[in-house]
Structure formats: C-alpha cells, structure tokens
C-alpha cells in the first residue's frame, strides 16, 4: 500500500510541475488531466472509491475538456511568441507554494488525529454518503445546486445574446 502511495504521489507532483512549466499549452492540459487521474488514484487507495470515480468523471471528463476547449478556441495562444519576453521567476513560485502548504498542514493537524483516520478501514458506502449528504449537509448541497443553476443560466444568456446578434 505504502509503495503505491509514494509512486502515485511522485507521478502527481511531477505532472503538476510539468503542467505549469511546459511551453506547449496542449501538453500542459494533458499533464493537468494526468494530475486529476493520479489524485483519483489516491482516493481509490484511501478506499473512498465513490469520490475517486466522481473525481475522474468530473475532472477528466469535463474540466480537462473545458481547459482544452479554452486553449484551442482562443486565437493563436498556442504559438511560441508568448514566452519570449517573460522572465521566469522560480523564487516567487516556491515561496507561495510553501506558504500554502504550511497553512494546509497546520489546519489539518489541528482538527483531526491523522493516524487514526488513515488506519480506520471503514468501508465508505455510497448509501451512507447519500444519506449524509441529504441530511447533515443539506444546506451546502442546496447552495451548490443554486450556484450550478446560476452558472447554467449565465451560459445560456451568453449563447442567446450571441444568437440574437447574429440572426
């Protein structure tokens, strides 16, 4: 188990770095989808397979395609001249990354007892997840759905405005 964990996290970190630093944007989106898949693999390792599957479905299925669409449809974003003038400052990058990491670890450590959580091999069943979501966490569930409808309406408005103008 541990060997698998380390292997996956190495893949995750390497593709994350590549996703940021590659020149050709299409390869970046490819590496981004590798990041999503390896994070889903991590979830599988933690036996939270429902979350892992949803992770693949949402991120690789939709978000990666969205990224690719964005890259592809904007005008000649792919060609080289974007990277000429920019000085690539690694120092800023490392500083912000370590700051964010420190905050994250601090918050996780303070709340729960990490060791107990990992070894507990309770099987997260989908049914319990469903019940939990519609009872204890009903409010966040409703807020999220509101957000989703707002986003959809926004998309339709833009499309309608586009159609009205061209027809």
């Amino acid at each position: 188990m541990i060997a698998a964990f380390y292997l996956i996290s190495v893949v995750l970190i390497v593709s994350a770095v590549l996703a940021v630093s590659l020149r050709n944007l299409i390869y970046c989106t490819l590496c981004a989808s590798v990041v999503f898949i390896s994070s889903a693999a991590l979830f599988f390792l933690l036996k939270a397979d429902f979350i892992g599957v949803v992770q693949i479905l949402i991120y690789v299925g939709a978000v990666a395609t969205l990224l690719l669409f964005a890259v592809m449809l904007t005008k000649n974003l792919v060609s080289r001249q974007y990277y000429v003038g920019q000085k690539r400052k690694w120092s800023y990058g490392i500083f912000t990354a370590s700051a964010v990491l420190w905050v994250l670890i601090g918050s996780i450590r303070s709340q729960t007892n990490l060791a107990e959580l990992v070894t507990a091999d309770h099987q997260l069943s989908v049914v319990s997840l469903g019940k939990e979501m519609l009872t204890a966490f009903l409010l966040p569930f409703e807020v999220a759905s509101l957000l989703l409808t707002a986003a959809m309406i926004g998309g339709i408005v833009i499309a309608l405005e586009e159609k009205k103008k061209s027809s």
Binding site: K75, V78, I158, E161, E162, K165, S166
Partner: protein, 384 residues
C-alpha cells in the same frame, strides 16, 4: 494555424472564421468540383464554386471532326443519360439539314429518353441519400433497378452507358426482337420499387427534418438565373420543354408536369419521384403505339454510311430537349462543309450550378452538401 480571414469586429465574442476548401478530392462533390467555403462555426458565410477540373475541350474537338464523329463524344457529356444527349445533338443537326425522322424512330427516341429519365432520377435519389448519410442502402436499391434498364440499353445500342445509338434521321439499329416485352416487364415492376423507396424515405422524419426548408430557391431567382429542369419545377414554375416545344411526338402522349410549392431540397427530391411516375405513364403509352416501319430515313442512312463527306447546308440551329437534368441544348453553326464551324452545348447542370451560393448562405456545411446533391450536377456536363 489556419489562413483565416479577419472577421468584422463584433462587440461580444469575436470568433475566427474558418476557410475550408471542400475540394476537388472530396467524397460527395459528384466528381471533380470544389467549393471554397468560409465558415463561421458551422454556418456558411461565403461559398465560391470552382469548376473546370474536368474540361476536355469537347466543343473545340467537335470543330475539326465530321458531324457524326462527335456523336460518341456527346455520350461523355452527361454520362448518366447518354441517350438524351444523342437525341439533342441529332435534333439540332436534323433541324439544320431538314431530314425527317420516320414514325418508328420517333417512338424509339421517346422510349429511350424516358428510360434515361428513370435511370437518372433513380440514381439521383440514391446519391442524394448518400450525401445525407444513409450508408449506401438507397443507392444500392436504386442501382439494382438502374442495372435492369442499362441491360436494356446494352441489348439495343451495344453499350450500357456510352450508347452512341442515335443517327441523323433516326436510330442506328432497330430494336432486337425480345426488347419490347422485356422493357414492358421492367416498366411494370417499377412502381413497386418506387413504393418501397417512398416507404423507406419520403415520410422518414430524419430526412424530412434534414431536407425541409433547406436551400430554398425562390421562383423569380430561379427564372432570372435561367435554371431549368426539376430544380425549376420544384420551385413551382411550370416550364417543361416537352410541353412547350412539343418536339418529336411528345404531343401525342398525355402526361402531367409535377410542380413543387416551397422549392427546397425536399421538393426537388419528391418532384423527381413524381416525374418518374409520369415517365412510366409515357412509356406505357409508347409501347402500345409502337408501330413497325423503317428506323432511319433514306437521307440519314446515306449520311450514316459515310459521315466524312456528309455536308450540312450553311446556317445555324439550336436544338433543345428536356433532358433529365434540365434544358439540354446544342447550338451548331455550319458553313456548308463537312465539319461544324461552331458547336456549343447548353449544359443544364452548369447553369443550375450558378445559384449554388444563393441557396447555401446561412446554412450549415452539411446542408451545402445536400443542396449541391439536390441540384443534380454531373461534372462531365458542367466542364465539357
């Protein structure tokens, strides 16, 4: 990435226009024909047809060849209906030479013309469905019927598609004895085939959704662009040369001219099926009235025996017939020699093609392909 044309600035999403050349080498352009299309997304903004890839210098060739010498070349004009090309050319020369055509030859010409119309419209319905995406099934049903009629042509003229059967003043050879009842059998079991095609296609929701209100051709645009044939009649203009000129013996047959109302791809498809039904009516009457007699007039026979010293009196003539694709006309000028001075073919598909852009603007790429298919062009005739 693509040599794009800058669009006029639009405040909201200024999108890039894509210029695609649906080029000479494309699965559904009915031969070597190219459309330079400027696309905004999928809708067509500009369309420029490019022709001439199949130009074989037909009219220049005819000028230094004997009058009968260019008859086999007229088969290659519209290679789907070689018989009607021959008839149109023979009609023009007979008008100039003043040869009369005996009774039996006139009937044979009507039979051959109507059989060619069946062949052409059946093949067209098949190819139109092929452009719509049906995976070769309607084409193969259509070709199954077309093969039977081509076998008839082979038994009469010697070759299935390159018939070279008409001569000035009649036809080359008389009908072989088994021909008439074999043709009657084919004509009788054509209606069941048409029913089967109609059951498969006409009420098919996908076909209706794809073809109705697509590529609408208005009446006055059609008349101004001198479009002829089923494309014109689908827009509702009653113009059929068999009824207007009454050339040959078409006044003896009673048949109707089907007209469409809206003038879109669906009308052009269905008008052709109705025309096939009318041709079947004509064929039945022609088989009944076919009389015995000579097949070629005496002057014509002499001319056919030695075409190289057949002289045509000076002057010019324009012979036109209702070919399956429209008005096919031959304009010939003679100086009294054995070779035509000027020889021009009025090809229906070439002229019907000029309005392709007006019909396609605003439609999707998929519609442009079926609008081109519904006009029914053959590149041999367009480029000559």
């Amino acid at each position: 990435m693509t040599n794009t044309i800058e669009t006029q600035t639009r405040p909201s999403l200024s999108t890039q226009q894509l210029e695609v050349s649906i080029g000479p080498q494309h699965p559904s352009t009915h031969g070597v024909f190219r459309m330079n299309v400027v696309l905004d997304g999928e809708t067509i903004v500009k369309l420029k047809p490019v022709m001439g890839y199949l130009h074989r210098n037909h009219e220049q060739l005819a000028e230094n060849m004997s009058w009968l010498g260019s008859m086999p070349y007229t088969d290659r004009l519209d290679y789907f209906c070689s018989m009607t090309n021959n008839i149109a050319y023979a009609l023009a020369v007979e008008k100039l030479m003043g040869i009369d055509v005996p009774e039996r030859a006139q009937y044979i010409r009507v039979i051959m013309a109507e059989l060619t119309r069946l062949v052409n419209h059946t093949a067209l319905v098949g190819f139109l469905l092929n452009d719509l995406g049906a995976f070769f099934t309607p084409v193969l049903y259509a070709f199954r019927e077309r093969e039977k009629i081509l076998d008839l042509f082979e038994s009469v003229a010697g070759s299935r598609m390159m018939c070279n059967y008409m001569r000035f003043g009649g036809v080359k050879l008389d009908l072989p004895d088994g021909f008439v009842d074999c043709a009657k059998a084919i004509v009788d079991n054509y209606p069941p085939f048409l029913e089967e095609m109609e059951r498969l296609l006409t009420k098919n929701e996908i076909l209706m959704a794809r073809c109705q209100n697509v590529g609408i051709l208005l009446k006055d645009l059609a008349v101004n662009a001198s479009v002829t044939g089923p494309v014109l009649r689908a827009s509702g203009v009653n113009y059929d040369i068999r009824k207007i000129d009454k050339y040959g013996i078409y006044d003896r047959f009673d048949f109707k001219v089907p007209l469409g109302t809206v003038g879109d791809v669906y009308d052009r498809y269905y008008v052709r099926i109705l025309e096939m039904r009318e041709s079947l009516k004509i064929l039945r009457q022609a088989f009944k009235e076919l009389s015995a007699g000579p097949v070629i007039s005496q002057k014509g026979l002499i001319a056919a025996k030695s075409p190289r010293n057949m002289k045509v009196p000076a002057g010019d003539a324009y012979g036109r017939i209702e070919a399956p694709k429209g008005e096919l006309g031959f304009y010939i000028v003679s100086e009294g020699g054995t070779k035509p001075y000027r020889y021009h073919v009025r090809a229906p598909s070439f002229i019907n093609l000029t309005i392709l852009e007006d019909m396609c603007l605003g439609h999707k790429v998929a519609d442009a392909i079926i609008i081109l298919g519904s006009i029914d062009i053959v590149l041999g005739e367009v480029d000559r």
